[in-house]
Amino acid sequence: MRDLIDGLLNTTLGLGAPDWLVSLISYVAIVTIIFLVAPFQMLFFTMYERRAIARMQDRIGPNRVGPEGAFQPIADGVKMFTKEDIVPAGADRWVHLLAPCVVVAPTMLLFAVVPWGPGMVPVDLNVGLLFFVAISSISAIGIMMAGWGSNNKFALLGAMRGVAQMISYEIPAVLSLLAAVLLAGSMSLVSLVNLQAGLPFVGMLAGIDLGLGWLIFTPVGFVGAICFFIAALAEGERTPFDIPEADSEIVAGYMTEYSGMKFGLFYLAQYILNFLLCAITATVFLGGWQFPGVNWLYERAISPANPAGNGLFNVLAGVLGVFAFLLKTYLLFYVMIWLRGAFPRLRVDQLMHFGWKFLIPLSLVNILSASLWVACMQWGAEQGMGAIEGWSPWARLALAFVLTFAINLVGYIALVRIQAPTRRRPSRLTGSIAVP
């Protein structure tokens, strides 16, 4: 974006604008776009989820407002805005007011590192992944504030559950991202996406660049993606793990005492977080904007590597890249809805059991295989891998693939068998009992 603005102001128009002005204009433009896009994503997601889940339940879903119910989220928004804002008696007024803001703000910040398309990243932080993980867990504080400030036992219970769940599931999420980081050798999301170009194997180029070298096609990436996606479900409070707002147990969890637009903000934050979690999963494991054709177009566009490109290719690459990125994101959100349609809610102990005893060990196994992958693919004699130094890249890839696949499969089966519930004895209810 900055390059585009720079090119437009100084090269095309010849204004000779100073560096700081170019930066200011480009960042204001980026922030404006993001702040417009984020709520619309949320509006679209609410509609998307309601229609999709309705289909799964043999219904049609909201289709009365506008064509096929397209304006239903807007109608909901109007309703939210016009509702009375109630603060319960005995509530901690300021904490109650600040909580939704504390929840929403970090989710908005997360947009800073998401690469939408080739050359379309607001800020290419070299610790982008770390930034994402760190900032996304701030909303746990907001949730705790909401629970505490509401002066309501359900709200407090929900908040405690929410925080416990978020902390537990941060670990497998980070560990599974760590595998990807090992493979990329960088925490920058842009470099992670760039790694996933090429054929359906990470970083392998054979003539043409298909943009299909997604991590999910490798055993390491596959297990990592599944672990991360499950952890993302828990962080985004999606249905198998929607314990913090379990309607049937604790009313609406930490949102119980919220009404009007404060509630709307929680809702907004939740859906934007879901969007971002899907987006990050797509970026890290599904290649982000990588798609057949995007790289070919981007090679001909204006970029830091190729300043003499054609602006038209920027637009084309951007459109195709964003299309590919959003397609992957929406498909992942569809999976979230699908899981919601299929599975009931876990109990708190089941959640902890699954997180700590299954997901964390599995992602640790995955880190092991990720390291082996790196060793097989990159290491030479000085790192102790002299035996395979002379092999061709394809042979090394095959070795890495087989090795990591075996390790992950064995690890998974072993964990499953350790966790398998013992067979229950026949019920005492069968047979006859004597009543004195």
Partner: protein, 381 residues
């Protein structure tokens, strides 16, 4: 002492717990949802299927309600005669569990005696529980359950519904519940015919039909003279009386005819029926002739003093007589025609038919006589 209690069978659900549960169950669950999702783009029209969208988008699409669907009670009336089926027998009022039916019986204004008709009828729809007991218990098929269910309103008092709002023509009910109406139709009309005899004037006529009937009555004398070319002002009264007589005679003959027809369904020979009908017709004709003669006779003394007026009167009376005769003839023809197809089935003679025919003839005669009297009276005036 101890009692042995056999507990019920405990159903053991096979959850297929394997030694290595690798998420197969989860995947199977996802598969089920996927099937539902992909099938949901088709309509589920048969209820044997468990997949597909079965939503009926209500205000636009509506399901065909079953005939026996019941929401709120309505009253029926016959839109031909305008008579209500209700006789105010109070059966529904008595059985109504929430006691929301209220009615008063109609009384003959002349005698003050109760008439089998209802004067006012109210149902409190707001408290009605749609049990349908009133419709079940009604022996006259007068109260039936409606299919309308969109009754919500801001106006609470409007839910106390009176007779005018409750009345529906039989065609309406035949439309919403054709088979159920077909079953009870004959019985309903038979009972109504019996009750109609005991109702005089507009008693028992549905409020919405009263207006219409009054209009018909008002229109009749104005409309008829034009084609008849009897343009004398002084004769109208006589004319009317005579015409009335003729109409009554015709009706009587017709009734005789219909009664014949009903009776003939049983077991009457063609000849007997035929004879009876012909007899009735002849008698009616005779009665009409006699009436005409009487009218003439009554006019005779007056011919001398009033020369100018009498020919007209005479003419009117004669005309009436001719009409009566024609009506009788027509009735006889109809009787013949209606009986013709039933000849084969019926073998034995029927005194009942004959009786009915004779009765009709007598009635016709009486009517003619009365007409003559009225004519006389009119002349005297």
């Amino acid at each position: 002492m101890s009692i042995q209690i056999q507990r019920g069978k405990a159903i053991t659900v096979d959850r297929r717990t394997r030694k290595t549960p690798m998420g197969q169950g989860l995947l199977r669950g996802l598969g089920v949802i996927w099937k539902h999702w992909s099938a949901s783009f088709q309509k589920n029209d048969s209820y044997k299927k468990i997949q597909g969208t079965f939503t009926i988008e209500y205000p636009e699409e509506r399901r065909q309600l079953p005939e026996a669907y019941r929401n709120m009670p309505i009253l029926l009336y016959d839109e031909q005669s305008g008579h209500e089926f209700c006789t105010s027998c109070f059966q529904c009022e008595r059985i109504c569990p929430p006691q929301v039916i209220h009615m008063t019986q109609a009384k003959d204004p002349a005698t003050g005696k109760p008439v089998p008709a209802v004067e006012s009828f109210e149902i409190e729809y707001d408290a009605c529980m749609s049990c349908g007991l009133c419709a079940e218990v009604c022996p006259f098929e007068a109260i039936k359950m409606d299919h309308t269910f969109e009754l919500s309103t801001h106006d609470h008092p409007s839910l106390t519904v009176d007779k005018t709002a409750l009345n529906r023509p039989t065609t309406y009910y035949a439309q919403i519940a054709p088979r159920m109406w077909e079953e009870v139709k004959e019985n309903a009309y038979k009972k109504l015919a019996a009750n109609m005899k005991r109702r005089s004037d507009l008693i028992g006529i549905a409020p919405q039909m009263q207006e219409q009937l009054r209009e018909q009555l008002a229109r009749a004398p104005q409309a008829e003279p034009a084609p008849e070319a009897v343009a004398s002002a002084s004769t109208t009264a006589d004319d009317k009386a005579a015409r009335l007589a003729a109409i009554r005679a015709a009706n009587a003959a017709k009734r005789a005819n219909s009664e014949n027809g009903q009776a003939a369904q049983g077991d009457a020979t063609q000849s007997a029926d035929d004879k009876a009908a012909r007899l009735a017709a002849i008698r009616a004709a005779n009665a009409a002739k006699r009436a005409a003669q009487q009218a003439q006779a009554s006019e005779a003394p007056e011919t001398a003093p009033s020369e100018s007026a009498s020919p007209a009167d005479d003419k009117a009376a004669r005309l009436a007589a001719i009409r009566a005769a024609n009506a009788a003839k027509r009735a006889a023809q109809q009787a013949q025609a209606s009986e013709a197809p039933e000849t084969a089935a019926s073998e034995s003679t029927s005194p009942a038919d004959e009786k009915a025919a004779r009765l009709a003839a007598i009635r016709a005669a009486n009517a003619a006589k009365r007409a003559a009297a009225a004519a006389e009276k009119g002349q005297e005036e």
